[in-house]
Amino acid sequence: MYVAVKGGARAIANAHAWLDEARRGDRDVPELGTDQIREQLSLAVDRVMAEGSLYDPELAALALKQARGDTIEAVFLIRAFRTTLPRFGGSLPVATADMQIKRRISATYKDAPGGQVLGPTFDYTHRLLDFGLAEGRDVPPAPMAETGLESAPHILSHLGGEGLMQAEPDGAGAVPDLTRDPLEFPAERALRLQALARGDEGFLLSLAYSTQRGYGRNHAFVGELRIGAVRVSAHLPELGFDIEFAEIVLTECESVNQFQGSKTAPAQFTRGYGLVFGQSERKAISMALVDRALRAQELGEDMSGAPAQDAEFVLSHCDNIQSSGFLEHIKLPHYVDFQAELELVRKLRRAAGADALPEAAE
């Protein structure tokens, strides 16, 4: 008698054992340490922290190792860990104006207080494979500046003084949190920004690019892009004062976009905003452009039906853990649904007289 496929439990155990072995690879090659990943693949670590929305380079490095370098799988591991962490409270807003700057550029001003700082960037490198790296060439220390950087207030604050830049309202109320509350529409900007900050870099990049190509076009300049460390502190009501508990690296982008003005408001510049854990300027710039595109309705701009202007579309699809999970679930058995479809198609074919046609196998 035929026996339906059994032994799911054993199959799973064997598959996992094989996965372990495949992860290790050739045992003649030394095993990779998480410290090596953290130090030498730091931008991958940053991306896992950003999309996993947990700032912990050690854990992100471990997740990358466990995921065999698959970024989305690593993000998933971090998310699943993060969800079990107890929440003690929220931090105070970080002061990005006081950032210890590693990199800071503006496309709108040649110079500004604090200056332009290129920092450790791929920009202006020629993308030629460095075969020396494969051979483990020496990396001499980079030259150091003689003095520290002067203070660098946000470049767009210089526009605000003239009223040329639309002021952002102070977020007085509680900040929405889509990890604690279900996403509901219409979503206010703070919630949209949270979703974008966790969103998939590739998805945001494509959307931002689509706005540049005319799908919800709103010409953007990078007003300022800055990368560096900021201090994180929290107010403890029990103690009655603020304590500083961490220092994290952030990438922040403010885009400058023209606003034509309306019957009630004169022309002005407006801002798109991007803020991402770690060093991730592609993501930060993309986020700023998409944030600005999503403001089209609030600013009374033409809603051209472009995907990047559609908050429901963007927010419902930007999370790569949601999208990859649902995409891959179609690997799961669907025998029952397929059986039902099979019966239906047979029945419809019978009704249409397809029975008269010869069937090959019978």
């Binding site: 035929y2 339906a4 439990a9 279900p182 529409f185 679930h329 029952v336 019966e343």
Partner: protein, 281 residues
């Protein structure tokens, strides 16, 4: 046991889910938004059902997990072993012995009884989603009981195919009010939703929605007066293993020359019947 809380989720999260469940039970068929957590299995693989089960489980429970009606499919095995690990509850393959049953795509053949909880995994909770992609609009349609469009879809099926060409996830109306997606169960199972003595809970993790059918809720499959709903399954076959004529059957391809057989999709139902036949023989 492990360093995780009983049934994985922390107590505050379980309370949040239970509040959503209570609201769902109070408004049968209404989709209650809940703050779905990230779970250690992927979205689309039962995270909604797992969270609902986690919020319902008590240490005395006996848990059954099925996928496609079977206890031994890989995802059912995976979810069952998850709860064995993080909740330490007893598990069973017997429908009659289970106090909580988590399912994907089927309702067990054996009638459920009062006191049992059936937890459905739901991929797309919104029955109107493929007619209207916008959440803001579909919620309004539910609020205003604006279901003409749903009926239009069924009308279109009949106009084109001569019948309602919907084999699974067949929409239902709950207590004459909310149109509900019963999850992708075959329409053969739809009548079991109606007036069930068990509590039926539906969890959609990625979409952050919970809905429910309290015991003895009226559940009608949408249709037309002159094209009434008919549950259907593979016609003209009995189960090749237990001979059942009343169960939903999977078609199994047995060789490469077109040979097939039909067997119960509900493995427990089939095994129980086969054992009885052997005892009687």
């Amino acid at each position: 046991m492990t360093e995780y809380n009983f049934a994985y989720l922390d107590e505050a999260t379980k309370r949040m889910i239970r509040r959503a469940l209570l609201k769902a039970v109070a408004i049968p068929g209404y989709q209650v938004p809940f703050s779905s957590r990230e779970m250690p299995m992927p979205y689309g693989w039962g995270t909604g059902g797992v969270q609902v089960t986690a919020a319902c489980l008590v240490p005395e429970d006996s848990l059954k997990v099925i996928d496609q009606g079977a206890d031994d499919t890989t995802n059912a095995v995976s979810i069952r072993s998850f709860f064995e690990k993080v909740a330490g509850v007893a598990t069973t393959e017997s429908t009659a012995d289970a106090s909580v049953i988590q399912t994907r795509h089927r309702i067990p053949e054996a009638p459920l009884v009062a006191g049992q909880i059936l937890v459905f995994q739901v991929p797309i909770p919104e029955p109107l989603r493929f007619l209207e992609p916008r959440e803001t609009e579909t919620r309004t349609m539910h609020a205003l009981e604006d279901y003409g469009l749903m009926q239009v879809r069924l009308y279109e099926d009949i106009a084109r195919h001569g019948e309602i060409a919907r084999a699974y996830a067949y929409p239902v109306k709950v207590e004459g009010r909310y149109v509900m997606d019963p999850s992708p169960i075959p329409k053969f199972d739809n009548p079991k939703l109606n007036m069930s003595p068990a509590l039926q809970l539906f969890g959609a993790g990625r979409e952050c929605r919970i809905y429910a059918l309290p015991p003895f809720t009226r559940v009608e499959s949408l249709d037309f007066e002159d094209y009434p709903f008919t549950p259907s399954k593979a016609a003209g076959h009995d189960c090749a293993i237990c001979g059942a004529q009343d169960s939903y059957l999977d078609e199994v391809i047995t060789d490469d020359s077109g040979g097939r057989m039909f067997v119960c999709s509900d493995t427990d139902y089939c095994a129980t019947r086969a054992a009885q036949m052997e005892a009687n023989a």
